[in-house]
Symmetry: D2
Subunit: 323 residues, 4 copies
């Protein structure tokens, strides 16, 4: 995490707890056993965003080269209307001349010169993910299977639900599972307990994998650009509930799914990924639900993969996805 | 055209002029020279819609068989919620025992038994199409080229515009072209003149190929389910003007186009076809416009082809497309 | 199963054991516990194929109507080159005037008149499916999850593997699992044992869900059009092994997957379904493998769903899929 | 054009005539009138390829920055297997401190250090394109319309055909048109005349827009990575003639089109772009031809657009497309 004073859009919030002082395991909670994954490569990723001006690319490239960081991938984008520059650079750490602090200080100096917001992440520090789920478990299963297949470079540290029915799935994959039943009366208190658990588990990303509860503005505000939701329609069409039924009613010829960061405006957050499938008059609402399940799984999985690979930058209500 | 008293949804309006009395060419208008197309096959198509009950399929099949009409294709659909049955049957006329009137009388008798709305069309009676266009001519060109390539089994009888700039295109393809400049003051009068011309040319279908004028409710009401519009977004997202700019603003990852029948509710008519293309942060509004042109052309062309092949049935605000 | 003397292409083989005499459970094998599925609807499906001539549609419709079978869906196709007619009719059994034998006799009489090959199946008689799998379990998981979600109207009766690693998955879903280790020396004998088990379990369909053993011609010949294989390329491109590496080597911009019926010509059987995903120079072979897994799952699942719904007819080396 | 001694893969051949000595118009040939296009932006593009090693990105960025070239876009790729690095940088020329020769000398010095093959192109120097066409004119029309709409940043300088039927199209768009009838006997001599004309017209790129003659190895060898062909199948499936009929015969469920650079191995050249459309048993060969026309147009247009924007690098038998 960079030391820049300027918050990196919505994308660079302070961590929920200082990385230097990881909380001790809280005996009240069950923890996941570590996932069996191949060792992360010795690479780092630098994300920057700043007002567009000449010399940025050269300065950053020179900075990394000068410290022994060999650039593996670089992608950049300039929004000519907003006058904003975005870059993602992935580099090899194996011959770095300095330690991490040294590199961060060097980045910080360049950043100050260009009014740069930045974030430095190491592949060895995998993000810790909590999956929120209700009764539909197809997205949950999909994420767990992809994680097991090595598609998602993160730790799935926790599954949270308002129902107990996903517990066997969690057990089978060896992931900690916690039920927080929600009623109108208990909602606020339960969210507080959830936040406590998320902090205790040092969660970096929350994935709402068809979680059917609306999170409060207070909850969402504490996780800017770090809660990914899957909405089962092609946003901005069919905002709100029962979108497949809305789509059937309207007689559309394609149905869609949208993965987006959750914001306090329901279904209005920055879109990360969308996809569609063909529909026809032959499709009943339940056929659309079936086709939609496939869309939801693949669209959500892509969004999560891009997020954990630090490929998504948020600015305004939009995203830059360096895929 | 059937003799049933019950109008066939929006899809079976009375013709603008009796087929038995084609209007004489009006010397005020220029007429297209006949298109060079391969001779239409000796086939007929019967479209029926009625409350679902047992015995319909057998009765219709028996009716056609009994009169020497060999069924080539049949497709049907039952909407279980609406309790409505739809069928499209294409048959060979070459060994028909009766003349057209005899066949219509026979259909009429069965139709009465099942409260059936129906339409009987012959491939030899090609629909006459008018294309309305403004300044963008990519859809116009596309329809003319597809027609010339034999993809559209209709006559393109007329091109109407509120500008003169498409005239060279019309000339090149030998299609009659008429300009009706529109101002707020002249709109009503010009629409009357357009209707007069459409009647004189015995037009069956109006295609709004990026025609940028809003037609009055009175005009549209005279052409129920016989005006196809191309809207340059994935409806119901981005209703209204400048949808590509709306899409860019919202940061969607797919853009779309929608072909629909025009109704008095703008952009709310029954959807015939939709498609999408992938977009990203790299796409400027003008990139979206470029990608959108391809979508508009293919989506509109499919909708027109299905309509002229009598593959589209309208019910409520939806379509059944027997593709 | 019909009583017609004429075999229905490759698609209507005799059952492995007479339905009237189901084998007793063989104590040597473990059996699956019955899957928890919603009760099948009281519907039947009639599939017919015959030389095209007039009157077929009317005769079949009249036949069903006359016996109280209300047609719910009907789809048909005529191959004008082969002069062959194909039809699939799904009908309601709830007011049938006769029993199944009576209906079969009636169909048989009409079939004789039209040289018709036919098959009559009841939704209540779900097909029994065996899934063959090796080390990759993504397709296996996918089929089991879809089955549990109600997408596949069949019984998954058995999982067969040449390795033991899928056993926990089988256990978790309560499906019988049997390992048959294969070596060059043991292959023939093991296939005999597999056939014995398949017969004992009254299997109707074998799904090769990334089963990495080549089945012998003798084995395949006993299951005509009843073994579905997923090949991980867009056939006929990249026949044979390691197709994703072949695709990477050739630099294609799309990769694909193909579900087809297994025949003795490897990767040459009738194609049921195909799909593709976009690839680029950025994709390593392992990226293609990852993208391919998604393709394999969805393509195989569609093929299996269509087969168990009796939507696939084979003729020559091609399929008619009434989707 | 760079001064590097090492040829830049197939992509950096010597120009057909020195840029410093453009040939005088040859009175035997008709020339196109200049296309009406918006003025090209004052930008340049640098393409580089070299063995991968550290410091390349920094060196190139520093080089451009040091000469006043502001980087607008940069994209890069490393093939880890081949150990090869590729980069495309687009930069603003408006504040360049040196002239073009000065910039080229500076690039040349850095290139020598990294064994770099490179190419420097200016947006103001639009590529001159010749379109070869036979009887099918859908791709020709499509390219001309897209060019007129501003989608293709090139000059369409010439249309060549072995038939005269495209002449009215050429006339309508004001492009020079030349017929070279080809027989087995005349082929060699006619190709010589074609080459003479291409040189006289200073053509940079040949587009085979459904040109049905096989070019000789000698002809192709003179235009390495500068002839784009559209093949009407998803290569490597259905190499050779009548691919839509091959696809119909095989019963595939998707058909495709492939744009590739022509090499002396027919249909084996580096693939630039591919796309597919869905097919079914209902599609006759002529339906596949119709669907294929749409694919051919869009796939070829994308490949041409990427080429004229210098987004395509060839290495081995593959392409890197920085889209």
């Amino acid at each position: 995490m960079g030391t820049s004073e300027i918050p990196f859009g919505m994308n660079l919030p302070d961590p929920p707890a200082p990385a230097s002082a990881p909380p001790r395991p809280d005996p009240r909670w069950r923890y996941s056993r570590p996932a069996m994954t191949s060792p992360a490569p010795a690479t780092g990723t630098l994300l920057v965003s700043c007002p567009d001006r000449r010399g940025i690319v050269a300065a950053v490239a020179q900075l990394l080269y000068g410290h022994g960081a060999n650039i593996l991938d670089a992608d950049q984008h300039t929004d000519p209307v907003a006058g904003q520059f975005f870059q993602r650079i992935r580099f090899d750490l194996s011959e770095l001349h300095v330690d991490r602090t040294g590199l961060e200080q060097a980045v910080s100096a360049v950043a100050a010169r260009f009014q740069m917001q930045w974030r430095l992440v190491l592949a060895s520090e995998r993000k810790r993910v909590a999956i929120f789920v209700s009764r539909y478990d197809h997205c949950l299963y999909d994420l767990l299977l992809r994680h097991r297949a090595g598609e998602l470079a993160c730790e799935i540290a926790l599954i949270v639900s308002n129902h107990s029915n996903a517990k066997p799935v969690a057990d089978q994959f060896g992931v900690a599972f916690q039920v927080f039943p929600i009623t109108a009366a208990s909602k606020r208190a339960q969210e507080e307990r959830e936040l406590e658990l998320l902090t205790a588990c040092r969660i970096d990303l929350i994935v709402l994998a068809r979680y059917m509860q609306v999170l409060s503005a207070g909850f969402i505000g504490r996780w800017p650009a770090r809660i990914i939701n899957i909405h089962h329609s092609f946003l901005p069409a069919f905002v709100g509930s029962k979108p497949y039924h809305q789509a059937h009613e309207r007689g559309v010829k394609l149905i869609g799914a949208t993965a987006h960061y959750a914001t306090t405006d329901l279904d209005e957050g920055p879109i990360i990924e969308q996809d569609v499938a063909r529909a026809s008059h032959r499709d009943s609402p339940s056929d659309l639900v079936r086709k939609g399940r496939d869309l939801e799984r693949t669209v959500l999985a892509r969004a999560v993969r891009w997020h954990v690979d630090d490929r998504v930058l948020v600015y305004g209500n939009k995203t830059v996805v360096f895929d």
